[in-house]
């Protein structure tokens, strides 16, 4: 159990995207370094945590993995509340999962904090010769919509660490900048399920589109 460890920041992140794109494996790769080709489908939501270091600060990520099937949206959208980051995952080998990204963005707009940091994640990058979504196309879409973008493979581990590191670092940067700007200590380490919700200006949010 890693619940009693000390941390400076606690950030809630949600993993969303179509069924079967590899959300649960991204989570298990990041939090336990495990990958399971035939992992069971997620029912409702599943939860995991991991802490990383940024600028000598400990950031604890509380990550909620959600079921991809539409029927579960009514349940899973409740988990967007308090989330400061979202990994919106599609499968680079299945174009319909990329087409649905717009629907998932709408879900976030409807249910999540308006300042949530979103990263578009093209998973299964190991399936090179089955690629159905060109990297440039997705990268451009991300830039146009103010999303960060990365391609990952939970199977061969590539960029998984980087994707979580990047979104957590970005959230940290926004939160700590905001703390300095407002010159008040609004970033106390939370206890239990307390979540720090950054309150950022719109221009900060639209600064995404890296990689």
């Amino acid at each position: 159990m890693s619940g009693n460890d000390e941390y400076d920041y606690l950030f809630k992140i949600v993993l969303i995207g179509d069924s079967g794109v590899g959300k649960s494996n991204l989570l298990s790769r990041f939090t336990r370094n495990e990958f399971n080709l035939e992992s069971k489908s997620t029912i409702g939501v599943e939860f995991a945590t991991r802490s990383i270091q940024v600028d000598a600060k400990t950031i604890k990520a509380q990550i909620w993995d959600t079921a991809g099937q539409e029927r579960y949206r009514a349940i899973t959208s409740a988990y967007y509340r308090g989330a400061v980051g979202a990994l919106l995952v599609y499968d680079i080998a299945k174009h319909p999962t990329y087409e649905n990204v717009t629907r998932w963005l709408k879900e976030l707009r409807d249910h999540a904090d308006s300042n949530i940091v979103i990263m578009l994640v093209g998973n299964k990058s190991d399936l090179r010769h089955l690629r159905a979504v060109p990297t440039d196309e997705a990268k451009q879409f991300a830039a146009e919509n103010g999303l960060f973008f990365i391609e990952t493979s939970a199977l061969d581990s590539s960029n998984v660490e980087q994707s979580f590191q990047q979104i957590l670092t970005e959230i940290y940067r926004i939160v700590s900048n905001k703390a300095i700007e407002s010159s008040q200590d609004n970033v106390q380490p939370g206890s239990g399920a307390q979540i720090i919700v950054p309150s950022v200006d719109d221009h900060t949010k639209n600064a995404g589109g890296c990689c």
Binding site: M1, S2, G3, N4, S19, G20, F35, N36, L37, E38, S39, K40, S41, T42, I43, G44, V45, E46, F47, A48, T49, Q62, A67, Q69, R71, Y72, A74, I75, A78, D126, L127, L130, L155, S191, G192, A193, Q194
Partner: protein, 408 residues
């Protein structure tokens, strides 16, 4: 994991030979009439033991039988028929079941009473069919009824798949075909292409007939106990000879089971929401310290118990234990899966009250996502069921616990 493995697992060839009419034709003939080339017709490697005795992949039915069958299979003697499980005359429980089931008109009250305490594997398939109202109480009417219902399913299936998978509801079929390979992946039986194709057809046929809910992830889990029980009925037969009847029986039994909890799967899943409210209030009444601790840590029942209700604890205990649990659910007169299950879920949570009260939010969530019940044996399940029964007796009729409107 190699790249090739992912591709082969994710993109099977679906040959026309998979169409149900062929399956029905090959399987309903049954027994020794099955053509020798049946395997190639179904694109199933022989190494995946389609021809092996069903017992070889079924761990539970008569342990001595299945172990014997498994060792025969390993020593390349898979064609030697394993002994069919039968009632042990020395066992009074088995004798009572045999008598009850073989009487001209089965006494349902007696059968429920016997079944509550667990059904012997040799009698489980028949008993489940009767308790679900699928097979009649009349002994003489039982075989023709099953024959008629199976044919009805095969006709429905043929009709559904008559124009191939391209003519199906693409979204529904897609969801089913991505979920079937990850259904009970740790159990060898559900790795078999023969069983996976069968489960796909069953789920699609059910979903197509129930548009109010359609297929919802987790319903695939609910089909697994039926395959387990119905394939175990004739462990000596080659799997391909029994899978079709198991599919038909599984379809009708799953239909009846889901009829009792259908609003768990309709839009916004109101049945589950109601069950969670009941479970929370039950836990608060029985163990207020635990309820207060969960609330203080910000743990909501929706976060951990949603799956318990949605998948009827199939994911929280082994399949063998789940089957034992369902014996009791089926024996419960008053909606075992809808109502008694809530008491079982509450009893399950209360088991770990002391540990949970010392944990914080993250620890509680991690603990309950992979609960110790995964390593349980039948005796542990039986204690749980007894505790749930006790809570039910204490609280079910308590007006301040359940509002009158909650009664069905």
């Amino acid at each position: 994991m190699s790249l090739n493995m992912r591709q082969s697992a994710g993109f099977w060839k679906r040959t026309p030979a998979h169409t149900p009419s062929v399956v029905a034709a090959a399987f309903t003939g049954g027994g020794s009439d099955t053509p020798d080339d049946a395997d190639s017709a179904f694109d199933i490697p022989r190494s995946l033991s389609a021809a092996a005795p069903a017992a070889a992949i079924l761990p539970e039915t008569k342990p001595e039988v299945s172990q014997a069958a498994a060792s025969e299979s390993q020593s390349e003697q898979a064609d030697i028929p394993a002994e069919r499980p039968h009632a042990d005359p020395a066992d009074p429980t088995e004798t009572k079941f045999a008598q009850t089931l073989s009487s001209p008109h089965t006494d349902l009250t007696q059968l429920r009473k016997l079944s509550w305490k667990g059904i012997p594997p040799a009698h489980r398939a028949t008993t489940w069919r009767i308790l679900l109202g699928y097979a009649p109480l009349s002994l003489t009417r039982r075989p023709p009824t099953l024959q008629r219902k199976r044919k009805e399913y095969f006709d429905l299936r043929d009709q559904t798949f008559a124009r191939g998978t391209a003519a199906l509801d693409a979204k529904l079929w897609h969801q089913i075909t991505i979920d079937v390979p990850r259904t009970a992946p740790d159990l060898p039986m559900f790795r078999l292409p023969l069983v996976q194709r069968s489960l796909e057809r069953l789920l699609y046929c059910w979903a197509a007939r129930h548009p109010a809910s359609g297929y919802v992830q987790g319903i695939n889990d609910l089909a697994t106990p039926f395959y387990h029980v119905f394939l175990a009925e004739h462990p000596a037969n080659a799997l391909q000879d029994v899978v079709d009847d198991a599919e038909a029986d599984g379809f009708w039994c799953l239909t009846r089971l889901l009829d009792s909890i259908h609003d768990n799967y309709t839009h916004a899943q109101p049945g589950i929401q109601r069950a969670l409210v009941k479970m929370r209030s039950l836990v608060a009444r029985i163990d207020s310290r635990l309820a207060e601790h969960l609330a203080a840590e910000g743990v909501e029942f929706l976060q951990f118990a949603f799956r318990w209700i949605n998948c009827l604890l199939v994911r929280e205990v082994s399949l063998q234990c789940c089957v034992r649990m369902w014996d009791t659910y089926l024996a419960e007169e008053d909606q075992g899966f809808a109502r008694f299950h809530i008491y079982v879920c509450a009893a399950l949570l209360l088991k770990w009250s002391k540990q949970l009260r010392e944990m914080d939010f993250a620890q509680i969530m991690m603990f309950l996502q992979r609960p110790p019940s995964l390593a349980w044996e039948n005796k542990d399940v039986e204690v749980l069921l007894a505790e749930a029964y006790m809570y039910k007796c204490l609280y079910d009729e308590s007006p301040s616990h359940y509002a009158a409107s909650d009664r069905p």
